[in-house]
Symmetry: C2
Subunit: 288 residues, 2 copies
């Protein structure tokens, strides 16, 4: 019999992930802060929980994917938090992007309660979430990951074990740091060419035929050249992830000069954007 | 009958470019500051010029590809400089990476003398140079580019006209700015993961299966993980190109925060490296 899965966080990523679990035949109990976001899923057969605690009490495996560390803390440790309601022997998989330090705190609290824990943040965007082709960056024990394989396979194509709890979050922060810097890099290249009066319409074609080729150029650059930034990965979340990466760096005693510079630029754009744009809106820094 | 081509600058890029011209049947007159670098070419049938001026006086089309602005100025305007020896009606193609401003100065001097000029810096690396698959970023007049097509085709696969003289250099500086920032970005991501105690051996595989995929990850990251930096594109030249990009930005009144941060890091590594490493050696900034 398939385990009952609790699923908390039905945002851009969480909703398609939960849908894939349903499609794969897992019994699902869902909770989301904004209740309406659960409608599609409950119509497809998911049960609605009244709180994180309620979802936790009704499942064998709980998956959380919320927007930031405070949201995760509220969902786990708040007055209606999930952690105290999880059964001994249950498994918690957190796919939010948070600090490795918070992942280890969650792991320690789980261990006290006889709960297995994986930190398993994802990459692949909404497209990957919909297609079930996410990559999970996993921190935790091999045996736990092994037991979770059939569940993770319903949502993703790869789930490399990167080390003990926290390692998944570490690699995820490094990845988003790289993406943030790459998008900033293209924004700066575009700004330079534009300021020098050269049309930008052939930039992508040229950069793509060089070592400058990248996923960022294919996916983000066309929007940046047009000046349109519909949120695929919101700037406010990338801003948070770069902050977490910089905090981790400070903790470990290293400098990330380009990361720090990019963070300042994302911050400046965040402060003047009221439309919750994609992180590629960093280009606005240079628009008159 | 094919035009005689003068070729000045037989470095990592220039030598294979000149070899491809020879293979395509163009009569070639070569000059290089270090004479020994011309040996292979003269054995294959190229004539050796005694100076830039001598090369210029013996050709219909002169191609220059030297390491930086002062080297180009010396080759064109030095006591044995090429510019005064070029025939009226000749064409000068400069494939060095220099400032758009210098490209426009060269264009103005050429115009006075009835010489056609293209700024046509290249991308594609030594591999592209050897295979004849370079991309030339061209500034100048369409009619001149048209006349040069058979020559450029012997060395490259694309030669987009990007605008008047200087536009080729502008796009090249933007491209190298992007590459410099991308390599710095991976170096920072690698440093973060390493400092946090997570093995880096699966980083590339994971990043490549995300939007983080890039030419930099394929070509440079494996060396950076190993800590080996044999020069494909020397750090001293990338350092110069980022400086030129920052100077152009200042001239145009825009800030490039990540570019400036990357420049500082390349500078720091340049100061402590005595082995003329590849620009991916920026990773040394974080190595104990």
């Amino acid at each position: 019999m398939k385990p009952v899965i609790g699923f908390i966080g039905l945002g851009l990523m969480g909703k398609p992930m939960a849908q894939n679990l349903l499609r794969a035949g897992f019994p699902l109990v869902v909770w989301n802060r904004t209740k309406a976001k659960a409608d599609e899923l409950t119509k497809s057969g998911a049960k609605l929980a009244s709180s994180p605690r309620d979802a936790a009490s009704r499942c064998d495996v709980l998956i959380t994917i919320v927007s930031d560390p405070p949201a995760l803390e509220e969902v786990l440790w708040g007055s209606q938090g999930a952690l105290d309601a999880l059964k001994r022997g249950a498994t918690l998989i957190d796919s939010s992007t948070v600090s490795p330090d918070l992942a280890r705190r969650v792991a320690a609290e789980c261990e006290k309660r006889g709960i297995d824990f994986l930190d398993a943040p994802v990459t692949g965007g909404t497209w990957g979430a919909e297609k079930g082709e996410l990559v999970f960056m996993v921190g935790g024990k091999a045996a736990v990951l092994e037991r979770m394989t059939s569940i993770l396979s319903a949502m993703g194509k790869k789930f490399p074990l990167l080390g003990p709890n926290g390692a998944g979050q570490t690699v995820k922060l490094a990845m988003n740091l790289l993406l943030a810097i790459q998008v900033d890099g293209f924004a700066e290249a575009l700004a330079l060419v534009t300021a020098a009066g050269v049309p930008a319409d052939r930039l992508m074609e040229i950069f793509l035929s060089s070592m400058g080729r990248s996923g960022v150029l294919e996916v983000k650059a066309p929007m940046m050249v047009k000046g349109e930034f519909p949120a695929s990965f919101p700037l406010r979340l990338m801003h948070k992830d770069v902050r977490l990466a910089l905090e981790l760096a400070r903790e470990k005693g290293i400098m990330l000069p380009a990361g720090a510079a990019a963070y300042a630029t994302y911050s400046a754009v965040k402060d003047v954007s009221n439309d919750d744009p994609d992180f590629s809106a960093i280009s606005r820094f240079w628009r008159k």
